[in-house]
Amino acid sequence: MDPINVPITPRFFIHKNNMEKLFYPKSVAVIGTNNTKGTVPYDILFNILHSEFKGILFPVSPGEKSICSVRAYKYVVDIDQPVDLAILVFPSNVCHLAMEQCGQKGIKAVVIISAGFKEVGEKGREKELQLKQIAEKYDISFIGPNCLGIINTDPAVNLNASFARKMPEEGTIGFLSQSGALCTAVLDYARAKHIGFSKFISFGNKADISEIDLLYYLKDDEKTKVILMYLEEVSDGQALMRAARDIIAETGKPILILKSGRTDAGASAAASHTGSLAGSDEICTAAFKQAGIIRCNNIEEMFNIGIAFAYQPLPKSNRIAIITNAGGPGVLTTDAAIIEGLALASFSDETTQLFRKSLPATANIKNPVDVIGDARADRYNLAISGAISDPDVDGIFVILTPQSMTDIDTIAHEVVKVTDGYTKPVYTSFMGEADVSTGVNILQRNKIPHYILPESMCRSFARVYQFGAERHERNSLPKNFSDIDRHDAESIIAEALGQQKTFLTEDKAVRILGAYGLPVIQGLVATTPEQAVKYAGDIGFPVVMKVLSEEIAHKSDVKGVILNIKDKSEAEKAYLSILQNVSVLQAGAKIQGVYITKMADAGREVILGIKRDPSFGPVIMFGLGGIFVEIYKDISFTVAPVTESAAERMIHEIKAYSILKGARGMEKYDTESIRTCILRLSQLAVDFPQIKELDINPLIVFKEGNGCFAADAKIVIQ
């Protein structure tokens, strides 16, 4: 079974067929262009010409005879040769007419640069829908509207169909962006650092071709080695996760995403702990991690990690060697490396002997290797050559501080030369700015990753290493339990929905959990004091009593829970107190009765929950439970279906894992039973999209080998 069983985008196969014409067109028509320099319609045409496009260009402009000395056509249908790609730059109110003509002309790929659609309101949304309908009628695939355009640096085509100022360098990074304006800033940033791109795509409103279609295109694009994306909204989280998994599993291409919109106002309105704690951004972070996507915090970090992937091989291990000409930066780098989970390699005897023999007596020949401030290119050469040949070293960090005798440019050339031919990654940090700039330029031109700060270098290496190490871990499958009673759970939910109920009382929630094999203690519902006393006696003291009401989500808030009731007399009093408390604190609430269960033995309290995210679907939450849920917010999330390894990771991820595993002389708790509960809950979440939110709080976990059980549960349905 596919872990994420979702369909690909509806027009996926049509887009797949049209992508070649979009990115490798033999002819391009710019529809709506004009002769006014400094406008988007003019610049688009100018940029295509200026980038030395290898195909034929057709300006289409009802009012011009020629533009940039190229013959212009009144309408696209007037062109007497085939057209592969059309770029639409007309105002939004006439784009549909041009689109219709594209269809009549048989054009299958269109980029709509024009703005004034969904982003401006309902009328714009209607216009966008109209474009989509025309595209569907003619099997056209289009990018945009409201975008910067597309760039393909492949010398076979040389296409800059955008209003970016300059064509970027050729490279192996495929860049996708929902924001057009950000693209121009990214291109400028990248140009200064000689970062090249294979494809550069601004997809704007993604009315037709989405980021998912483009990700699959870049998966198969031989020129693309790394995929970077700026995203403002995840329209289909499950499809994104599936695409990422497919790309990583099939090609090993890493996907780095900068996702904006980290705040979430909606979460506070949720009825359950899981609902309130699982904000959309937290879920997004968890889902990206689960799918192997590297989430970046800013553009700089995205490119720091991106160039590491693009320029250098994946490290085989986290054992690195640091070569520096200054002690302080060496220590800084060591600290940063350790913090990021890297290890300083121990040099072999051969390497140690080489360094002892060849480096000055004052040099530090152990890792980090300090070649001393007066080191010139020959000493750097020796140290790098020695370290890179050492079998115990799987990555090299070269640090340089600009001292008066440091021949910076020669050392940069030496780094390029000495590392050529090795399959071990080499990263550099020439610290400073003005003095090291020409050296840095040499490194950047020769595709040696360079970082102003060693901390950024260590972080980038760590992300790359982590990606390589975890790449195959994501291939495990979710467990499916056969000992479940789906029918029973289904009947409870159907009955409640039939009665327009959205909140299930604990007795029903417990039955659903029990049907899916989660450990529960079935209780009894008393509706009179006499029944309460009898049932408590039947269950066996001590017992717990809780108010049962479809109108009360938080029982403790209305003093509707009494624990540790020891005898019949206390049972009667407890029953009456609960009714009295509720009548005062939530007057008018309809009470179905009082739910009585056996009082559990003491154990460690954790929380398990489900939340349905509009984009990613069912999400499972696990964390420290009881009264600590909101205090510590010590929780982890995974999008269902949860695999066995993901369930294990969820348990390990929370801070309280140290308690569960028995730290500081405490006994170990039964984490195996928690893992099983997570997997069973995941199956329940996948089977019932009607479950909007679910809390098991607390799930009481006993010492190792003694299991766990759900002491309280609530379910919100939709």
Binding site: A602, L624, F628, Y632, S658, I659, R664, P698
Partner: protein
């Protein structure tokens, strides 16, 4: 009351209730992550502090106190 005395008495209460040796309890010890307190024990701790110092604590705010040093500051404010 001096903070030193408050700290010492708080540690005594914690040690007794959570069955931990006083030497294991440092100023930075977190009730849950370091000393393993459960929900019930946390509530009992608040009650025990109230009894020990003869004060009445704000339950919600008291629950937010997570460490020995936090408890010392919190209770000191009540004793002023």
């Amino acid at each position: 009351m001096e903070k030193t005395e408050i700290r010492s008495r708080i540690k005594q209460v914690i040690g007794q209730l959570l069955e931990r040796d006083i030497s294991e309890i440092t100023d930075d010890s977190n009730f849950v992550f370091d000393l393993g307190a459960s929900s019930m024990q946390s509530l009992q701790l608040i009650a025990a502090f109230e009894e020990e110092f003869d004060i009445e604590l704000d339950q919600d705010k008291a629950m937010e106190v997570q460490s020995v040093s936090g408890a010392v500051d919190f209770i000191s404010a009540y004793l002023k």
